[in-house]
Amino acid sequence: MFKGIFVDDKEEEKKYAELLTKISSGKLNIEFRLPEHEVTELADHLIGQHFDFAAIDFRLDEVPIKGAEGNKQKNKYRASALAQQIRDRAIDKPSSDLPLILLSQEDYIKRIFHADSTAEDLFDLVISKEELVTEEPLRLAAARITSLAAAYKTIQSVFAKNNNKPVALSVLLGLDSNEAEMVLNHQAIRAIAKIQYPHQIISKVMALLIQRPGILLSDEHLLARLGVSPDSPNISQLKAKLIDLKLGYSGLLCDGWPRWWWHRLDAWGKGILGAPLGSSAGSERVLKLSSALKIELKPAASKWSKSSDEYFWVACSSCDHPTELKHSVLGYDANYQPFLEPSRICWYCIQTGAYDSRDLIIDDSDENLAEQIKNGKIQPQAQMSS
């Protein structure tokens, strides 16, 4: 069980601590605290109490809390100030580092928090309170917090065993050295092995492995590589079979963010298809996979051409649907690395404008192409003939 704290200036928000504790089925124990101290005092308190994680509301200053000695409001700070104080202490003592979760209202997160990238770097996870109104998101949030707390503990434990010196990332990711040599031998990833602070390691793992497809794949990208429709029956069975085949990722954060090793999937796929996964059409891939796994699966259909005979490869960054490279444009990513799978946005989302509200940016190299799609110069065959 991980012991955590939730800091919010509104007493009634205590229920989030209770809800997350309850839904975690004994994995989390979250206590609630009002920001009754000055920011440094509160940071000292949180570190001193050895919490496994801290969830903090963005606005800690909306309900004034006054000290006994006078009328001065003590809680005149926001989550980022408190988080900075905690991170500063972790630099001095990495063993006291802990996951920080921003748990706040959605519009604060969107309007203020995301506008400040330095504040963003301070937190491991951002959860909007609006999401926590039904069980499923609540369960996911609890799982991710648990996963983060476990990851920090894992890192600190490995460091402790290594006399507080950095360790190879393969140890943290659950790969043997041979496999690691093949998969992790990229400059940006090698650099992670030099980091001494747990929160920085988590930040890099998140950015280079968890949040972007490449070395690891999310469920959506897994289906795209297999050419399976998200609406297909038996997806749970498919995933169970693939886990049995050791294709699933079991390293840091795997419980909160299920992922698949691409290099293992690739090798397995070649064995099934006799060729790389990307070398056959979705319909063919699914036919062979269904046969090999003895599971009935439905092939994906292109949202542009409506055909299953496309060479599906990635999940669209806008709609998460399997899409083929030839009917998708390149998305811009400021933190792109060569070992990552570039973001792709399917032509359907470009045509209908669905990507507009997802804060996605089209890469300059595909801008002209996207303009032609937007303006009807390029249309699916079916639309042109109608």
Binding site: E12, E13, K15, Y16, E18, L19, K22, I23, Q105, E106, D107, K110, R111, K129, E130, L132, V133, T134, E135, L138, Q351, T352, G353, A354, D356, S357, E371, I373, K374, N375, G376, Q379, Q383
Partner: protein, 764 residues
């Protein structure tokens, strides 16, 4: 030496006087020479050529000269004057001006016509027979004829005489320099005529200038002022009237200018083409036997009619009626006249006259009378629409046996101003004011919300002023026999007044626009503060809803822990469902605020906006059992750059309207269809429903501010009608060069609104 000369002259004069056939010319010359021998005093003499100089200085333009001669006919109580040009398209033609006026005796010709600067019109400003207010400028007639041609034959005769008089003048040959005008004599010729014939005929030979169509038109326009624009009353209750307004019935005055050019083009103008045809609206009103007042309004020019029954009774007046023609003196409403001419007619003859038993009751409707207080209130801008006396030409009927309380004063100068009179004035004034305001409303209303040429119909002020300057330049290039190109003073004056009027009208319109703008700004301020409140409170409400939802989840967990039965869980599930619905709506408001916060304009992908809108309200519509259909073709449709929140607002307003309309229709078939397609260069969003539809009678008002058909209690969520929804949609359309309109609903639907905005440039 000089005394010898005087004696010689005396002898010569004595000899002349003693002869049997007196040589008057010789006597006049001797008389002049004798006077020159006077050593004790000096005398003025006038050079004969002075007539010519006066002609050109006093009567600059030939059309003014002709107008003056026509006015002379009017002043002489003529009922008709005929003007015939022969070969008028180049100098040298001739012209006759013949009237059936009172004519001149030989004595009148001698004492008045031949005498310069007579003050006859000053002494007798009213004509003898029809009591016309004399229009001609004093003593200018003979200069006018000299201005027009080289020779004049004057023929005139009076009623009852058997002979008329004819005199011939040869201006250029006789009126030479160094000749004293007093020494010039012209022989009188007498001719036989019928005793009932009367009138004057001027024949102008060898015209100095050519005549153009434009000049003839100006002559015609100048004579329009000579008589009232309305027909003079001739009967009352079926009986012929012999007198009206205390004088012999004026049968009217007609002018016919009939010339024929060498290109055989007939140019004919007649005053029968009445001024009143230019009316903007006809207003009529009556008080019925129940003392109720009804006002009717019809405007063919604006294409509408309306009526109203006043909200009070007029018990002291009795049955009566009035009718009036309403004029607004703007170029777009007055054809064939300059606005200056039309305004002059209004100043001279405008107002509401009162007739009692068929006879005019003065002073009502006279130029300085303001019995309806129209001049008072327009002057103080208590009424801002055109509603001065000059804007109306009308009359009111009274009868001594029906309107018994409305009596004339003993001096016969108006009605006794008792309570009945106050009610009467209130009746007419209320009717005219209502009609003027109604016309103003009709003029201001656009035909469609996005109509862009609304203010440009009459042309830009700068273009109209430019046209006036061009006209003035054209006049200067054709004026003057000497080839002088100076602009005649009266043309210049008219042009200045026209320009002044255009500027004043523009200022007035600007003022009205500013007022409308201020009203709208006020509305925007209210909406902005409302928006700020919504932004603040929606955040709080969203927070509260989250808290509520969390508490419900907690409660559910507790119930589960306690092993509660399904029966106990049901109410919690219901609360959860309602919360989910509220969360959907709160999310919509939050996203709207987020979009509104973004100030930049972007091309809007219609598919995405509509899809998101439908998904946002899906739960809400499901609970209200509304079936939703979306058809977007082509899917790539994008609008011109605009604010995303504007499209959201359009869809939301259409949606709330549809729900209200379907509730009102109380139909089991509740369907909404949103479609999007192209219409020319526009993106068209169609919004259809199975509601009650729009009554054609109010179709032209639904886009007006504060117009609503909804009542409180229609729908607790979508709220009562503010009357702003469609106005906002309409303003969004206008602001983006688009339009909103009612369209033809597809089969299965009762109402269709269409919102059109230009497509993205690349899609046009």
């Amino acid at each position: 030496m000089k005394s010898d000369l005087l004696n010689t002259l005396k002898k010569q004069l004595s000899i002349e006087l003693e002869q049997e056939h007196v040589d008057f010319q010789a006597i006049a010359e001797l008389n002049k020479k004798i006077l020159e021998c006077d050593k004790s005093s000096v005398r003025f003499s006038i050079d004969a050529r002075h007539i010519h100089r006066l002609g050109f200085e006093l009567v600059g333009r030939q059309e003014t000269a002709l107008s003056e001669l026509i006015k002379n006919s009017y002043d002489a109580d003529a009922t008709e004057v005929r003007i015939d040009f022969v070969a008028f398209d180049k100098p040298g033609g001739f012209l006759t001006i013949a009237d059936d006026g009172s004519g001149m005796t030989e004595e009148t010709i001698r004492s008045a016509w031949m005498r310069l600067s007579t003050n006859d019109k000053e002494l007798s400003p009213i004509s003898d027979r029809f009591k016309r207010s004399r229009a001609g400028r004093k003593g200018i007639g003979r200069f006018a004829v000299e201005r027009l041609g080289k020779e004049l034959i004057l023929e005139s005769g009076v009623l009852g005489e058997l002979q008329g008089v004819r005199v011939q003048f040869n201006w250029d040959d006789v009126f030479k320099p160094d000749v004293d005008i007093g020494m010039l004599s012209f022989s009188i010729e007498r001719f036989d005529k019928a005793p009932e014939a009367h009138g004057t005929k001027l024949t102008i030979v060898t015209m100095r200038d050519r005549w153009t169509e434009a000049q003839l038109k100006r002559v015609w326009k100048s004579v329009i002022l000579l008589q009232p624009p309305y027909k003079v009353r001739r009967t009352y209750r079926g009986k012929a009237l012999t007198k009206t307004e205390g004088k012999e019935l004026d049968p009217g005055f007609s002018v016919v200018i009939n010339g024929k050019s060498s290109s055989e083009i007939q140019a004919e103008f007649s005053l029968d083409k009445t001024f009143l045809d230019q009316r903007l609206a006809r207003i009529s009103g009556y008080i019925d036997k129940d003392d109720r007042a009804h006002i009717l309004l019809e405007s063919k020019k604006l294409g509408f009619s309306d009526k109203i029954t006043l909200d009070r009774k007029f018990e002291l007046v009795g049955e009566t009626s009035f009718e009036a023609d309403y004029f607004i003196y703007l170029p777009e409403f007055i054809e064939g006249f300059s606005t200056r001419t039309a305004t002059d007619v209004g100043s001279e003859y405008g107002g509401i006259r009162v007739y009692r038993d068929g006879f005019r009751v003065l002073p009502y409707g006279e130029p300085r009378d303001d019995w309806l207080k129209l001049a008072y209130d327009t002057g103080r801008r208590n009424i801002i629409v055109p509603a001065h006396n000059v804007n109306f030409f009308g009359q009111l009927e009274l009868s001594s046996d029906v309107n018994v309380l409305l009596e004339e004063t003993s001096s016969r100068e108006g009605l006794i101003e008792n309570e009945a009179f106050v009610q009467l004035a209130d009746f007419v004034r209320s009717g005219l004011e209502w009609a003027a305001l109604r016309v103003a409303a009709a003029r201001e209303r656009k035909q469609t919300a996005g109509q862009k040429d609304f203010t440009s119909k009459r042309g830009k002020p700068s273009e109209r002023v430019k046209k006036i300057f061009e006209d003035v330049s054209a006049t200067s290039s054709q004026s003057g026999p000497s080839g002088a190109s100076a602009v005649p003073a009266d043309v210049l004056k008219e042009a200045q007044e026209e320009v002044q009027k255009i500027v004043e009208n523009f200022e007035q319109e600007q003022e009205q626009r500013e007022k409308a703008h201020l009203r709208y700004e006020e509305l925007l301020r209210i909406l902005a503060s409302l928006g700020t409140s919504i932004a603040v409170f929606s955040h709080e409400i969203r927070g509260a809803l989250n808290g509520f939802s969390g508490s419900i989840l907690n409660l559910k967990g507790l119930l589960a822990d306690l092993g509660a039965k399904d029966k106990a869980k049901k109410p919690i599930d219901d609360v959860e469902a309602s919360l989910s619905q509220l969360n959907d709506l709160a999310s919509y408001v939050m996203s709207l605020i987020a979009h509104t916060a973004k100030r930049e304009k972007n091309e809007i992908a219609v598919h995405s906006v509509i899809t998101e809108f439908v998904s946002q309200f899906k739960h809400y519509l499901d609970t209200r059992q509304v079936e939703f259909e979306v058809a977007i073709n082509p899917p790539y449709l994008r609008t011109t750059p605009m604010h995303r929140s504007e499209i959201d607002s359009v869809l939301f307003n259409f949606l709330t309207n549809s729900i209200k309309a379907m509730d009102r229709a109380n139909t089991g078939n509740r369907k909404i269809k949103i479609s999007a397609d192209r219409e020319g260069e526009y993106v068209r969003i169609g919004f259809q429903d199975t509601g009650s539809g729009v009554d054609p009678a109010i179709a032209d008002k639904i886009f007006d501010a504060f117009f609503t058909t909804h009542q409180y209690g229609d729908d607790e969520l979508v709220g009562p009608g503010s009357g702003l929804g469609l106005k906002i949609v309409s303003d969004i359309a206008s602001a983006n060069s688009g339009l909103v309109r009612l369209g033809d609903a597809e089969q299965g639907f009762n109402c269709r609104f269409e919102f059109l905005v230009p497509a993205a440039i690349a899609q046009q």
